[in-house]
Symmetry: C2
Subunit: 389 residues, 2 copies
């Protein structure tokens, strides 16, 4: 064994005190925003039967999921790699509301492989979902909530790209492709592999061919929708998708919206609008979302659904280096009631007070102390820690 006993697996990390405090703070801020907007927290379990985890939006999760046998039943359990299918299960089967359900979550997921070279295999996923409302009002609310919560957490979105799965579906419908050809086309579009795309669309009718070739070029500002209307086939499905995007953008004039009509992420389960939020100049989205209206069916109840998830809370933190932990106050090991009262009052005022343990002079700074409680006359006062304390 080359690495020591205590080495962690690749792409698996501890959060040590400073980072852990930042994660905890940011998680609370984001969940508080969700809560204040009416999104109710749910906590589905870390492990479930794979039949359930791989239903709905989880259909493509199989290769990313650690599996183990349940000693009670011998059935295969999965360590969840995504929380959205679990929340869909909860809405469809457990809450069973007739009206709108707004739900949110914020917890760790575990993947067999990381999403990218720098990503963790244990991202902290946070998200919010609206079930039960078919109109674009829900999509507008969800996008606004994402922008608002990112801003409230100090990581303003620099760009939110909108796309629509209905466009690709309309083109595929025209082409009359086999399932296999459809998957192939989907793959080259996702990878924006233009030569492969050209080869694949060559046998198709000219309108469809030109439209599919144009799709990867349809990104940018609001003019994108006009270009799309000009180059895509003029049928009802295409017109409806473009109208929807136009209406959503119109309702969110204050957000940095743009368009990426070849965004096919979550094609297996998304049914309409898709979107992705970016921070700073990073090319990797910090959050993804969209419509997935048919997904609850897998759990016995199809409900309209729209929502987003933040891929990894830690990736927001990296963009948010301003957070600083306040220092702690060292209190002497002294049983005086007046000292106990002073400590209690400081803690009540949200100050961290560390009670001294005898024999550790010179080590309190490493424990985060920068001040001390000291008796001046008959009052306990807070003063800066001296160099050698």
């Amino acid at each position: 064994m080359a690495s020591p006993r205590w080495a962690l697996p690749d792409h698996i990390e501890d959060a040590l005190p400073e980072e852990a405090a930042c994660i905890e703070n940011l998680r609370r801020q984001l969940l508080d925003q969700f809560r204040l907007h009416g999104y109710q927290l749910v906590m589905p379990p870390l492990i479930e039967y794979v039949e359930s985890l791989f239903s709905g939006t989880g259909t493509d999760m199989g290769e990313h999921t650690f599996r183990m046998a349940d000693p009670f039943t011998g059935r295969v359990l999965g360590l969840r790699a995504d929380i959205t299918p679990q929340v869909t299960r909860i809405d469809a089967h457990l809450l069973n509301r007739s009206g709108v359900a707004r739900l949110c979550y914020g917890a760790s997921v575990v993947r067999t492989t990381p999403r990218s070279l720098l990503a963790s295999r244990q991202p902290i996923q946070l998200g919010a979902e609206i079930y039960g409302h078919v109109g674009i009002e829900a999509d507008i609310e969800i996008i606004r909530l994402l922008a608002h919560t990112l801003k409230a957490a100090g990581v303003r979105a620099s760009r939110i790209d909108l796309g629509h799965i209905g466009l690709f579906r309309a083109l595929i419908g025209r082409a009359g492709l086999s399932n296999e050809a459809e998957r192939e086309l989907f793959a080259v579009l996702r990878s924006k592999d233009v030569p492969a795309l050209q080869a694949l669309v060559a046998p198709l009718d000219a309108t469809t061919r030109d439209a599919l070739l144009a799709l990867p070029t349809l990104y940018g500002g609001s003019e994108t929708l006009e270009r799309a209307a000009a180059v895509l086939p003029q049928n009802a499905a295409v017109a409806a998708a473009l109208d929807e995007l136009r209406a959503i953008a119109k309702a969110l004039p204050d957000l940095p919206l743009s368009f990426d009509l070849a965004d096919l992420r979550g094609y297996d389960y998304h049914s309409g609008l898709v979107f992705a939020a970016f921070c700073g100049n990073s090319p990797a989205a910090v959050a993804h979302g969209g419509r997935y209206d048919e997904v609850g069916q897998a759990f016995g109840r199809a409900r309209p659904a729209t929502g987003f998830s933040i891929s990894d809370l830690r990736e927001l933190l990296d963009r948010n280096a301003d957070i600083r932990l306040p220092g702690a106050i060292l209190a002497p090991a002294n049983p005086a009631p007046a000292l106990a009262a002073a400590i209690a009052a400081l803690r009540e005022a949200n100050e961290v007070v560390v009670q001294e343990l005898p024999g550790h002079i010179g080590t309190w700074r490493e424990a985060g102390c920068d001040r001390k409680l000291i008796l001046r006359g008959d009052r306990w006062m807070v003063e800066p820690l001296q160099g050698d304390e």
Copy 2:
């Protein structure tokens, strides 16, 4: 498959909105208390190599831990069933402080089998540890912190039992038993199986035999220590252990302390004091703790250590039924800036405001609304929700 696709495995549960909000609140309250007392939060990962998870206090965790292969290395990963070994690893190897480290954690662990018939296989474990201080001041602080945090969370400890692993070790040392005989003796003492105990101690010298037979009877109030001094062999190790217990009890006169000198929980890694906290009349402890001074050795650095862990946050909740979620305020779907300002002000004041989505009359109560925002004259007012809204 007899159960539906969405059934959860036995002893695995979702937390739905009401319970999830209570869990989140209680977790924050407890972690805030830890923080204000100088305990720094750490977040070790859900999965690690088993060599690491089963070191130190984790030696008896093997049978409780789900295992899976790491696709990167083929090595065996475990889904953690306990967080303490991870925190010990962090203190020993990562922080590497010369002075005292106060660390805490609060997160889910997963067990292959539940601790009891009613327990979850995914308990939420919270705990606090002091590394680097050998004196009983640390033990006293840890017990006081446990009592304080339970009280702050509204679940006051009704009893805290103290024991000391040094007593059993001293008796075993006298008896000169084989490892196997020691394990057997340990097992019958833990199960308080008196007939089996009598058979096992029969061949021993009279003093050791009588002491081991007396051990299961040594529980109760402060008189227990006097009884123990009378019935246990009078050697230095026994005297030191009893002195330590006496000193700790003396320093905590305001806590409901009692003694259970046959408590051998964590015998594999505990080195001195052990304790268990109980709430109400429940015979199951809500938290366990004690000294484990040699444990860091497994990670390359032995440090004195003492701490506790709360077995499952949800079990505290069951005893804490007072928590009630505040109702939400329904706001109309109206783009008026004055309404937006009213909503923002309410949310700023920590009120949950749900913006209406059109077409769901009669369903807002199930979403948690009990009030609504309504325009009276030129002011937006909060009023009770009417019956059919």
